[in-house]
C-alpha cells in the first residue's frame, strides 16, 4: 500500500509537468496579453506598454517564460500577479479558506442528502415521493447555478432573512466570538444551499440509478431467495456495491472544491478563489491563472488517489499494488 502511494506520488511529477505545460501553452494561444487592454487608452503611449511588457518578462518567447515559471515553482515561488503586483501565493492563500468553507459545506450538504434520498427513491421506485424528487432533481440539473444564485440573492433582498452576499457583516469586528460564528454561518447558508442544491440533483440520480441496477443483479436475487432479511440485503449487499462509482466521483469533487464555485461566488459577493481566477483569466494575468491551475491540478491528482485508496478499503475485490 505504501509502495503504491509512493509510486503514485512519483507519477505525479511528469503529470504535473504535462498539465502546466499545456495550460501555459493554451494561455499563450489566446490573442494578445495582459497589456493589450491598455493599447486603446489614448493616455498611454506604446513605449510605456513596451516597457511594462519587458518588466513582466512578456517580451520573451513563451517556452522561456514557462521554464522561468517552472524554476520558480520548484522553489515554491508562484511569481507575481500582473494586476496586483503582489506574490500570487499571498493572493491565493487570502481566499482559499473562504472557498473551501463554501464548497465543502455545499458538498457535504449535497452528499448527505443525496445518499439517503437516492436509496429511498430506489427502494420505493415510482412512489409519489420518488416522482416529486425526480422532478426536483431534473429541475436543479437544468437550471444553471448562477440563476439559482440570483434567485437566492433576490430571496434574501425581498425577505430580509438573509444577508444579500458577502461573508461577514460590516460590524463583524465588534461582535462577541459566539456572535461572530453565528454571523459567518448566517452568511454561509444561502450560497452553500444554492451550490449544494446545484450538485444534489445529479448525485441523487446517480445514487438512484446505481442502486436500481444492483437490485436487479442475479446475486441479489440469490440472496433474497436464500431468505436473507431484506434489510441485510439492502445494506450489506446492494449498498456497498452501488456506491462504488460514487467514490470515484468523490475524487473529482475534491478537485472541484477550489474552482467549482466561481459563479456563486460572484453573485453572492463571496470572497473566494473562483472569483479571483475568473478575473485573472479574463485579464490574462498569467501567473495568477497558472498558480491556481497548479493548485487545482494537485487537488485533482490527490482526490483521485484518495478515491482509489477508499475504493480499496471498501471493495475487497480491489487490491492496490
Amino acid at each position: 500500500m505504501i509502495r503504491y502511494i509512493l509510486h503514485r506520488f512519483i507519477n505525479m511529477i511528469p503529470l504535473l509537468f504535462g498539465i502546466t505545460f499545456l495550460s501555459f501553452g493554451i494561455m499563450k494561444l489566446a490573442p494578445g496579453d495582459f497589456l493589450s487592454q491598455m493599447a486603446l487608452n489614448p493616455l498611454i503611449s506604446s513605449e510605456t506598454i513596451e516597457l511594462m511588457r519587458k518588466q513582466f518578462g512578456l517580451d520573451q518567447p513563451w517556452p522561456i517564460q514557462y521554464l522561468k515559471w517552472l524554476w520558480g515553482i520548484i522553489h515554491f515561488d508562484f511569481g507575481y500577479s500582473f494586476t496586483y503586483r503582489v506574490p500570487v501565493a499571498t493572493l491565493i492563500t487570502e481566499r482559499v479558506l473562504n472557498t473551501l468553507l463554501l464548497t465543502s459545506t455545499a458538498a457535504i450538504l449535497a452528499w448527505l442528502l443525496a445518499l439517503p434520498l437516492g436509496v429511498y427513491t430506489a427502494l420505493w421506485r415510482k412512489s409519489l415521493f420518488d416522482q416529486i424528487l425526480s422532478f426536483f432533481s431534473f429541475a436543479t440539473i437544468s437550471v444553471p447555478t448562477f440563476f439559482l444564485a440570483l434567485l437566492g440573492v433576490f430571496f434574501a433582498a425581498k425577505t430580509g432573512w438573509f444577508p444579500t452576499g458577502g461573508a461577514i457583516s460590516i460590524n463583524y469586528a465588534a461582535l462577541s466570538p459566539f456572535d461572530k460564528l453565528c454571523d459567518r454561518f448566517h452568511h454561509l447558508i444561502l450560497p452553500a444551499m444554492v451550490l449544494g442544491i446545484g450538485g444534489l440533483g445529479s448525485l441523487l440520480r446517480i445514487v438512484r440509478t446505481n442502486f436500481l441496477e444492483m437490485m436487479r443483479q442475479p446475486f441479489i436475487m440469490t440472496a433474497k431467495a436464500k431468505g436473507l432479511h431484506s434489510n441485510t440485503v439492502t445494506w450489506r449487499h446492494i449498498f456497498p456495491n452501488a456506491i462504488n462509482p460514487l467514490i470515484t466521483l468523490l475524487g473529482f469533487e475534491i478537485a472541484g472544491l477550489l474552482s467549482g464555485a466561481a459563479f456563486t461566488e460572484i453573485i453572492f459577493a463571496w470572497p473566494g478563489l473562483g472569483r479571483l481566477i475568473l478575473e485573472a483569466v479574463m485579464s490574462q494575468d498569467l501567473y495568477l491563472v497558472m498558480g491556481s491551475l497548479f493548485m487545482g491540478a494537485i487537488l485533482l491528482i490527490l482526490g483521485n488517489l484518495l478515491a482509489d485508496i477508499l475504493l480499496a478499503t471498501i471493495d475487497p475485490r480491489i487490491k492496490l499494488r
Binding site: 494578445g32 487592454q37 452576499g165 460590516i170 490574462q284
Partner: protein
Amino acid sequence: MLNLTSIFIISGRLETIKYFIFIISLIFLLGCPKKEKIPVLKGSETPTYGGSFVLDSISDPKSFNPVIAKETSTTMITDFLFEGLTQINPFTTDMEPRLARSWEYSPDGKIWTFHLRENVKWFDGRQFTADDVVFTYNDLYYNPDIPTSARDILTIDGKRIKVEKVDTYTVRFIMPKPFAPLLFALGMEIMPKHILEPMVKAKTFNSAWGVNTPPDKITGTGPFMISEYIPSQRVVLKRNPNYWRTDKTGNGLPYLDSIVILIVPDQNSSLLKFQAGETDMISIRGEDYAVIKPTEAKGNFTIYNTGPTFSTTFLFFNQNPKAIPQYKLRWFTNKKFRQAIAHSVDKETIINNVMAGLAFPQDSALTPASKFFYNPDIRKYEYNLDKAKSLLQEAGFKNKGGRLYDSEGHHVEFTLFTNSENNQRVNIGNIIKSDLDKLGIKVNFVPIQFNTMVTKLDATFDWEAIIIGLTGGVEPHNGRNVWHSSGQLHMWNPRQAKPVTTWEAEIDRLFEDGATELDKEKRKKIYHRWQEIAAEELPVIYTVTPAALYAVRNKFGGIKPTSLAGVIPYIEEVYLKK
C-alpha cells in the same frame, strides 16, 4: 458545478449569463415608463458630523499605489487618500487649486511657480512640503524604472518638465515650451517623500503599497484614510482628523466618520443590495432604471440623472493604404461615402432599444459633458436615408436592383468588427447593419474577441470597419494620440510620417497650437475648429453617449449632480442629515 476545465470556456458562458440577465431585465421592463425629469435638490440643511456612507465597487482595488495602478476599481479608493496640486472643478470643469494654494507663470509661459498650502499634513503627522512635490515628479513619475502612464501625460515633445524647489512651500515647473494642459496634468497624486524614498532607492517601489500592505502604512493627504481592507469583501475608510480643508464657518472637514466600499462583483446583486438598504449609493444601468424608479419613495432615495458622460461609441473605416483593396480604400477615403453612412445611423432607435432611453445622440468629437470645449454648432447627421442615398449618388455610387455598386461596378460590401464582450456595441452594430442594408450595402457584421481586435487595429491592419468606444475627459489635448496623424491611436490610418490629407494636416496643427496656447478663449476657438473639421470629414462616425444615473439615500446632504464627478462633487462635504 463547474470543474477545472470549465475555466477555459468561462468567457463563453458569461455571454450566456448576460443573455439570460438581459431576458430577465426585459421582463421587468415591459410596460414601464421611460425618460423622466431630473429631480432638483431640496433646500439646504446645516451639516452635522458623524455617520457612515456605504458604496459598492465591482472589483477589488488592485493596489494602493496610485502611481502604478490606474484602473478604476483602484482609483476609486486612492482618490479618497491622495491629492494633486490641482483638481478639476466638477461644476465648471475649470482647474482649481488643491494642494497648491495659487500659481503664476512667466510671460513666455515656460516657467510656472506654484505656492503650496502650508497647513497640509500627511496621515502620520509630517508636514507636506515642496520636497514631496519635487520627489513625486522627479523620482516617481519621471523615473524610468517605474512603469507609469503618468509619464506620457507629463512629456512634451519627448522632453520632460524640470521640477525644482524654490523654498519650503514653493515649487517651480520649467517647460521646454508653453504647455496649456499642464494644470490638468498636475492633478496627479503627490506622494510622501519620507516614506517612499527608501523604497525607490531599494528599487522596491513597483510592488510597494500593494493590497497586502497594512492599512496604517498607506500615507496620503486626502480627506479619508484606510482603516481596514478585507480582500474581496470591503474597504473601510476613516475620517482624516487633520484634513486641511474647512467649511465656510471654519469647521474641519470631512463631515463623515467613515466610508465603506463593499466589493460586489455582480451588478444584479449590487442592485438588490441597494434595494435591501445595505448600500447608500449606486450607479444605475439604463436597463435597471425602470425596476428601481417605482421604489424611490419607499426606499427613501432619489435618482439623479447627471446627463451625458464622456463615454463614446463610434464607427470608423480603414483608410490605411497598405492594408485593404484599392477600390475599397477609394470608398472609405471618400468623404461623401462616410457622410452617407453617418446619415444612416439611427441614433433614436439606438437610444430607445439599446440604451433603454437613457442616452444622447452624439455628433461632435467631444461629448457635451466636456462643457467648456464642447462645440454644439457643428454639422449634424440626423437619420435620413434619402439624404444618404443622394450623397452616395453624388459620390458616383449606383443602386441596381436593391444593391449598391461603385462607378467601377464593385458591389459595396464590407466587414464590420466590434468586440463581442460588449453587448451594447453588438446591438448598435446590428441596427447599423440593417439600415445599411436598405441602402443596398452589404455588411458582414462579425463580433470578435477584444484582444484580437486590438491586434488588428494596432499591428496587422486587416480590417475594414470597426465599432468601438473610447472614454474622453475634460482636457481635449488628451485626445492627441487619436487625432494627431502621428498617433498610434489615429486608428483609421495610424502613425503617419506626415499627414496624408489636408484636413489631417490642419487637425495636427490645431492640436499643436492648442497645447501651447495659454489663453482660455483662444484655446476654446482652436478646439471648436477641430470639432468642426471632425464633423465635416467624419474619420469617425459617432453614435450615442450614455447618460449617467445615480441613486442616493435622502438622508445624505452635500449631494449635487455633476457630469464630471457623479453626484458627489466633494466627498468631504457629504454629511448625514439629522
